[in-house]
């Protein structure tokens, strides 16, 4: 055998052995590109087949009490200063014709989410029941989904150091409970259910009242619907003043709080 041939044979055999070793040590499902939870059909990843969960926010009933905000933080162990849901408070009109307006916000669980297709690890995905979730065992924290969300509804969880957001309390919903914010809403402004079920409250509400979604032009088809949304509240999103004034005022806030604390101490 010539020298060249023996070298070629050696390389060939080496390659074969490597390929065989790789195949032998790899499980069959490793060739699927999906994350393990979805491959193993984990119920937390698959969700409730045949259902499609939506939330309706009836702004006629919201009083801005922030009960939903606080219960969400407790239920989902959301770190300090971070929020999955929040009720924006604003004033609309001009004195003396003014009134308060509230806008509860949370992940819109879009039908065409902007966050999911850009995820490079597949850690965030849409369950079969429409709930968009993040597998925080897989997420590597690149932040692309956070950049992609037109609603600012994702953030890096300080504790897990991964992308986090509202998951409609999937851990409760899968046990037949309501999301914590819906359960606690004292005015009944938050309504949750399966839109495929014609007897559900969400189905009835959405078919009896005009509703709308936030930032429809983004084409994300949100599944969080608003009844009674005033376009002036939405304009809050497109105001363009610099926040410098608010930052300056922040100093004022601080002093106010210090004063308040001081008074408490004096009384004590």
């Amino acid at each position: 055998m010539s020298k060249e041939n023996s070298r070629r044979n050696f390389l060939k055999k080496g390659l074969e052995a490597t390929a065989f070793a790789m195949l032998a040590t790899t499980e069959a499902n490793a060739f699927s590109s999906q994350i393990p939870g979805r491959d193993e059909k984990d119920s937390r990843h698959i969700g409730q087949k045949g259902k499609h969960f939506v939330m309706v926010l009836d702004l006629r009933k919201c009083i801005g009490c922030q009960a939903c905000t606080s219960v969400c933080k407790i239920e989902n162990e959301v770190p300090e200063e971070q929020f999955r849901t929040f009720v924006t408070e604003t004033e609309i009109g001009e004195f003396p014709d003014v009134r308060k307006a509230f806008l509860p916000q949370l992940c819109n669980h879009c039908d065409e989410p902007a966050c999911v297709p850009v995820c490079p690890t597949g850690a965030t995905f849409k369950r079969e029941d429409g709930i968009v979730v993040v597998d925080n065992d897989v997420c590597w924290g690149c932040g692309y989904c956070i950049s992609a969300c037109p609603y600012d509804k994702r953030y890096f969880n300080k504790r897990t150091q991964t992308a986090d957001k509202c998951n409609f309390c999937a851990q409760r919903v899968d046990k037949g409970l309501l999301p914590a914010c819906v359960e606690t809403c004292i005015g009944g402004a938050r309504v949750f259910g399966d839109i495929n079920d014609k007897n559900s409250e969400v189905y009835k509400l959405l078919h009896n009242f005009p509703s709308t979604v936030l930032k429809e032009a983004q084409g994300t088809k949100p599944q969080t619907f608003y009844i009674g949304l005033d376009s002036r509240v939405e304009e809050l999103f497109s105001t363009t003043q610099s926040l410098d004034d608010i930052v300056k005022a922040e100093e004022g806030f601080k002093r106010e709080w210090e004063k308040a604390r001081g008074e408490v101490e004096n009384h004590g």
Partner: protein, 394 residues
């Protein structure tokens, strides 16, 4: 969370995150400058423009080190860098829609290609060194020549052809390795500043500017202090200055198209963008455009290009200017409100992950890599031979 953001959260919205910090503009600057250096080296290796032959080798090596150092920025920007394998194992179902996914293939293929092209270019020199030396140097150079010690005409022609083919494949790859970073931003329709199909082209144009600016600074430095000739090729400096001016023209045209459309003829989001540029009007105009683009453009197009020190100044300000442009795009884009009633601000930390020090460390890595390639690759001999060849041709 800084105080301003805390107030914002109170008055308006849920947690507002600016996920991409100082690492990301730095990464974009590195990949862009690498692509530009590669294209300039291809002027000689692929298009056969003899004028650029003496600097083609060193430009190729700079393209290589920039691209090896660049991805470290990305790793630093991750919140869970230990999970880097998840990126390779999962998420391929999103390949078509996640430009980040394309990046990994490009970031692996491109430096490997540059290395093999550089190997083909320098192989005869490795062979010569190996033949004249003993011990470790001999071993290293034999290894770098991949054991092929043939210096016959035929073998050299084969090297040349290999360099040509790799260079030709490398051009689209270099454009893609930087173009995809613009694509990452352009694909984000939630961000009014980023969302334009022009973004990859704008990035490429400004990358050519920063890469040429960087070579204008580095090549004279190497020639003056590290090479046998111990003097700067002033003609080359003037040539690069003129090239830089043309790249600036291309960059300005792209930015003109981008800004005029997005500030005037866009949908409702133009108001936010208009407000952003109004807030930053003075610094954008005077620093970004006048100092960092118009001044170097004038230097390259006039007789000023024959005064090296003036050209170095031009190279320096363009390199800095493009870094600022990357910053203004990545960070500025995230400052524009989406669900908050006003602009946000980002100030990088001094220490820790995604901080000023981590970016400086990355520059430190780049410096070390430059030292290594300058030591290992016989760039000096190759450059000298090109100059001799050019003189003989005269």
């Amino acid at each position: 969370m800084d105080n301003a953001q805390h107030i914002m959260t109170l008055v308006s919205s849920i947690t507002i995150e600016k996920p991409w910090g100082i690492d990301v503009p730095n990464y974009f600057w590195f990949t862009g400058s690498s692509a530009a250096a590669f294209i300039i080296s291809s002027f000689a290796h692929v298009f056969g423009w003899k004028k650029y032959k003496p600097i083609a080798g060193i430009a190729l090596l700079m393209a290589f080190v920039l691209l090896v150092a660049a991805p470290l920025n990305l790793v630093d920007d991750l919140k869970q860098p230990g999970r880097i394998m998840n990126f390779f194992s999962y998420g391929w179902e999103n390949f078509a829609t996640s430009p980040m996914k394309w990046g990994v293939l490009l970031l692996i293929a491109y430096p490997i290609l540059i290395f093999f092209e550089a190997q083909a270019l320098y192989r005869p020199y490795f062979v010569k060194i190996a033949q004249q030396s003993r011990g470790l140097t001999k071993m290293l150079n034999t290894l770098l020549a991949f054991g092929n010690m043939d210096l016959s005409e035929k073998a050299l022609a084969k090297d040349h052809k290999k360099g040509y083919v790799l260079g030709a494949i490398g051009i689209p790859l270099a454009l893609a390795v930087h173009g995809y970073t613009g694509y990452i931003l352009g694909a984000v329709h939630a961000n009014v500043m980023w969302h334009t199909p022009l973004m990859p082209i704008i990035f490429l144009a400004s990358a050519m500017v920063s890469g040429t600016g960087l070579l204008i600074l580095l090549i004279p430095l190497f020639q003056r202090f590290l090479s046998e000739r111990k003097s700067v090729d002033r003609d080359m400096v003037a040539t690069l200055a003129r090239l830089l001016s043309w790249f600036i023209v291309a960059d300005l045209v792209m930015r003109f198209l981008w800004l005029t459309f997005s500030l005037t003829f866009a949908n409702g989001e133009k108001y936010a963008l208009y407000q952003y540029f109004s807030l930053h009007f003075q610094d954008t105009l005077w620093i970004d455009y006048v100092l960092c683009l118009f001044v170097p453009m004038i230097i390259g197009f006039t007789k000023l290009r024959n005064i090296p020190i003036v050209v170095y100044f031009g190279g320096l300000v363009t390199a800095i200017g493009v870094w600022l442009f990357r910053w203004n795009t990545v960070i500025g884009g995230q400052e524009i409100p989406r669900t908050t009633p006003g602009f946000l601000h980002y100030t990088p930390h001094v220490f820790g992950q995604g901080s000023i020090v981590s970016v400086l460390s990355n520059w430190g890595v780049l410096f070390v890599l430059i030292c290594i390639v300058l030591l290992v690759f016989p760039w000096d001999e190759e450059m000298e031979e090109c100059y001799k060849g050019a003189e003989n041709a005269k």
